[in-house]
């Protein structure tokens, strides 16, 4: 296996009439996915090779077919979504300069508004040609180190970072993940994540590899827990890989007392800490289901640690042990940590480490580094910036971040990116964004002439929705520490009581 497209060719042969992807309204079988992808590949392949192609579509089975179409032309896809904000979409397009952009009826207006300089292609026009007419199948020539996609993640300078992953990165990931989940053609995934983050690899590629089915769950159901569980049951969903906040939206309101997801047997979760009282509610509701904690940064392609929870743990749920063929190690003072309870920075080694940040050698060299444990030969490893330690059983426990990166609603956010966006507003001087973990709340403080309302409005326009702070407050003066740095701790304490904030400085 050297190209992800081979997964699709195989599954379309084995399960041609089976539904691969559905959103409850529109569906594609494996054969239909292949046919659409071949047609799209044909439309792209005369002009482009090993180049980025943007896919700006409604989250749908068709958007996934477009990804495979791009791979078929031996190009790499850059997934975009309306909910990312126009500013961010523009920043991404500027950063990677895709040669072409695929849109659909829902994004047509936006595609025009963006003034995209390259070729724009309407999914409806390029997905129904006769694939038999094509002369060359370029995916035959893809090798496994070719890039498959670029997904963008929050960057502390204000410019998002594009993580470029190869076919082999994804193949290794999905081989390991499908074993860990026990996925096969009976599996019905209920997908929660948007298609522009790497979290969706789990369902999309495991489905294509194993002949499973992925149901894209409408986003608005995640505010309506009873309807959400009814949807899981109506579609006989048996496997989910969700952010913890999506699971606690169900358990936190007592939904499981009234209604259970009756087909669900495998619950993978990650991106956030699962609080034990909430975990217990799930365990009690589904005593026979498997619960698997997953951990991993986008830069090492999906997830790299897993822990299957037996019973209800006493303290915290570990992130566990590395995926097969992946080495996850802790470093402290230049040495590998081997004993329990010693904290170190978490590094990842192996073929899952992504190619790097697209067109960004500086930030790539900061995080994709020579293995700090030796200098004997070149070996690039990924430095996560996460602090972890081993427990007594050799399982890894997540502790904290080295920097100001946070997780909010399962999304990874650099507070500095929010600060950089606020600094662009006219009349803003000093700026600081803090995250109150207990209340899951982002608060931005600034000094200057600007009105808080205007700054808030600009942030909502420029940032993806999940990054927009819940409160924006103008201060006369920024509180400083003795060293003259912004006093984040003080801001964090004060943001719990907004009435006091004006007297802070």
């Amino acid at each position: 296996m050297q190209c992800l497209f081979e997964y699709l060719e195989r599954s379309a042969k084995t399960w041609p009439g089976k539904t691969a992807f559905t959103d409850g309204e529109s569906s594609l079988t494996f054969a239909e996915t292949l046919s659409a992808a071949q047609s799209i590949g044909q439309a792209l392949s005369h002009r482009y090779n090993r180049e980025p192609i943007a896919v700006l579509m409604e989250r749908s089975p068709q958007m996934i077919a477009a990804f495979f179409g791009v791979l078929h032309a031996n190009c790499f896809y850059v997934p975009l979504d309306r909910e990312m904000s126009n500013y961010r979409i523009r920043a991404i397009l500027q950063q990677c300069e895709p040669k072409a952009l695929i849109f659909d009826s829902a994004t047509k207006g936006l595609a025009e508004e963006l003034g995209f300089p390259g070729e724009t292609l309407d999914y409806a026009n390029i997905s129904h040609n006769n694939p038999a007419t094509q002369a060359i199948i370029k995916s035959d020539f893809a090798i496994d180190t070719d890039i498959a996609y670029i997904v963008y993640t929050s960057g502390s300078t204000g410019t998002p970072k594009g993580v470029a992953a190869s076919h082999s990165n994804v193949i290794g990931y999905i081989d390991a993940l499908s074993d860990i989940l026990g996925a096969d053609s009976q599996t019905v995934f209920g997908s929660q994540t948007p298609l522009y983050v790497d979290a969706c690899l789990k369902e999309v590629y495991t489905t294509i590899k194993t002949g499973a089915t992925t149901v894209l769950i409408p986003k608005k159901l995640f505010s309506q827990p009873v309807r959400l569980v009814e949807f899981l049951n109506a579609h006989k969903i048996n496997t989910v890989c969700w952010v913890v906040s999506a699971l606690t939206m169900i358990s936190g309101f007592g939904t499981l007392d009234k209604l259970k997801p009756e087909f669900l047997h495998t619950v993978a979760f990650g991106s956030e800490v699962f609080q034990l009282p909430q975990f217990k509610l799930w365990r009690e509701a589904l005593p026979n289901a498997r619960f698997i904690n997953l951990y991993g940064p986008t830069e090492t392609t999906g997830m790299c640690c897993h822990f299957e929870v037996k019973g209800v743990p006493e303290t915290v749920i570990p992130i566990g042990k590395p995926f097969p063929n992946t080495d996850v190690f802790l470093v402290k003072d230049g040495k590998r940590v081997t004993e329990a309870d010693v904290e170190g920075e978490l590094y990842v080694r192996g073929s899952r480490v992504a190619a790097g940040y697209y067109r960004d050698t500086i930030r790539t060299s900061e995080s994709f580094v020579q293995n700090p444990l030796h200098n004997d030969y070149p070996e690039i490893v990924y430095r996560t910036g996460d602090i972890a330690k081993y427990d007594g059983s050799g399982n890894l426990l997540y502790i904290s971040r080295l920097d100001h990166q946070i997780k909010h609603m399962g999304y990874r956010i650099e507070l500095a990116e929010i600060e950089a966006a606020a600094s662009r507003a006219p009349g803003v001087a000093a700026v600081c964004c803090v995250y109150d973990k207990d209340r899951d709340r982002l608060s931005l403080y600034f000094t200057g002439q600007a009105e808080a309302k205007a700054v808030s409005k600009l942030l909502k326009g420029d940032l993806p929705r999940y990054m927009a702070p819940q409160s924006v407050v103008r201060l006369d003066e920024m509180p400083l520490t003795a060293n003259g740095k912004t006093d984040r701790v003080r801001l964090l304490k004060e943001c719990a009581k907004p009435d006091n904030i004006k007297n802070l400085a």
């Binding site: 608005k220 505010s223 309101f253 929705r465």
Partner: protein, 76 residues
């Protein structure tokens, strides 16, 4: 109603609380907004809002939210 609008605006000030009537259906309120609103309503009005109430008909507009609160208060 004014008190409620003020409370709702403190959760999400960009929503047109006076006039919108499809807040949950249109996705203008996401799950994070709903959790914040429920927590605030419970603090302010002392009502317990269960999963079965988290439906568009109760959250599509400020007046629908008010009707739900009044109904829950009467049940107590």
């Amino acid at each position: 109603m004014e008190k409620l609008i003020a409370l709702l605006s403190s959760v999400n000030e960009d929503v047109d609380w006076q006039n919108s009537a499809d807040l949950m259906d249109s996705g203008a309120l996401d799950s994070f907004d709903i959790i914040s609103i429920v927590a605030n309503l419970s603090d302010e009005y002392g009502v317990e809002i269960g999963a079965e109430e988290l439906l568009p008909e109760n959250f599509n507009s400020a007046s629908a939210i008010l009707a739900m609160i009044e109904r829950l208060l009467q049940l107590r």
